[in-house]
């Protein structure tokens, strides 16, 4: 088996991984559009994007069998597998705190129960509520204040 053969097999594996990843990316985007509430959409995006990106990076490894790309791809896989669930966790937490409605067919919400019964002592975070109202009617940009300028943009 010479170098050409190895590259042929590598390209074939890369194509397989690429279509695998692309399929799940497409599925994730369809799910993002179709699912009824914020949590359902997070289900679709987190899982599908993680697996889709895994497919893409494996394709990159197989396409160029090179150590520099191998290490970078492996490190990206590790970081994505940590960062993606954490990000979705923070979005879900913020959505629940800001009071986004669950889907009509949701059977029970024990987090809201615990929050009402006082088992969770977290105070409601006022800046989240403020953020929602600010989005509804944005303030005029204050030139002296860089933070509010950033928000206005």
């Amino acid at each position: 088996m010479n170098a050409t053969h190895i590259h042929l097999v590598g390209d074939l594996l890369a194509a397989i991984c690429l279509s695998f990843g692309l399929f799940f990316m497409v599925v994730g985007v369809i799910g993002l559009n179709r699912f009824p509430d914020a949590y359902g959409r997070l289900h679709a995006t987190t899982k599908c994007v993680t697996l889709g990106l895994l497919g893409f990076l494996l394709a990159a490894i197989f396409h160029r069998l090179h150590l520099a790309i191998f290490t970078k791809a492996v490190m990206t896989i590790i970081f994505v597998f940590i960062a993606n669930p954490v990000g979705s966790h923070m979005i879900a937490k913020a959505a629940h705190k800001a009071g986004y409605k669950l889907w009509d067919k949701t059977l029970s919400d024990e987090l809201a129960e615990d929050r009402e019964s006082g088992r969770l002592t977290q105070p409601p975070e006022p800046h989240l509520v403020d953020e929602a109202t600010r989005a509804a009617n944005p303030p005029a940009a204050d030139v002296d204040d860089p933070i509010s300028m950033k928000r206005a943009m």
Partner: protein
């Protein structure tokens, strides 16, 4: 034990730096030699069964990858079929007996496994709140979470 695994990887990276050829194959060879060195080191410092421990970590990795693909297949099915037949629920799951790093790892793996998503953690760290997609039967959903937690504990944190 997790330190030994990190030592193994660090030794393999060192091997690649010292080797004349910069290829994935030399990295794999480095991993193999580093494994030999690390298991001798583990035996000498009184940690028995390093090889079996490594096998359990790899087994958990394979199991995790299989449930990740299953989760995606579920999403694909749900997105492709016209009716939405989900029965979502937010349930609480006790994690009081775990260390912080184990809680974090469990929460991350829960988010990537079929039909579950971590929404919040209670202040005292006793419970995590999990949004389950298919939880008509609450007990069955909790049993699934428990299976994952057990597998994670057996595979990585034991």
């Amino acid at each position: 034990m997790i330190r030994l695994v990190l030592l193994n990887i660090a030794l393999a990276v060192g091997w690649v730096f010292l080797a004349a050829t910069f290829t994935p194959v030399s990295f794999l060879a480095g991993l193999a030699f580093a494994f030999a060195v690390t298991s001798i080191y583990a035996t000498a410092t009184g940690h028995r069964g390093y090889g079996y421990h490594l096998f359990k970590i790899v087994r958990f990795g394979v199991y995790f990858l299989s449930i990740l693909i299953k989760a995606n297949w579920q999403i694909a099915y749900e997105a492709a079929t016209p009716k939405l037949n989900m029965t979502p629920r937010i349930i609480r799951y006790p994690v009081g007996h775990m260390s912080d790093i184990e809680k974090t790892t469990l929460a991350n793996s829960i988010t990537l496994t079929p039909g579950t998503l971590v929404v919040d953690v209670s202040d005292d760290g006793e419970y995590i709140y999990v949004h389950c997609m298919y939880a008509k039967d609450r007990e069955a959903a909790v049993r699934d979470l428990h299976e994952l937690a057990t597998n994670l504990h057996e595979g990585v944190f034991s």
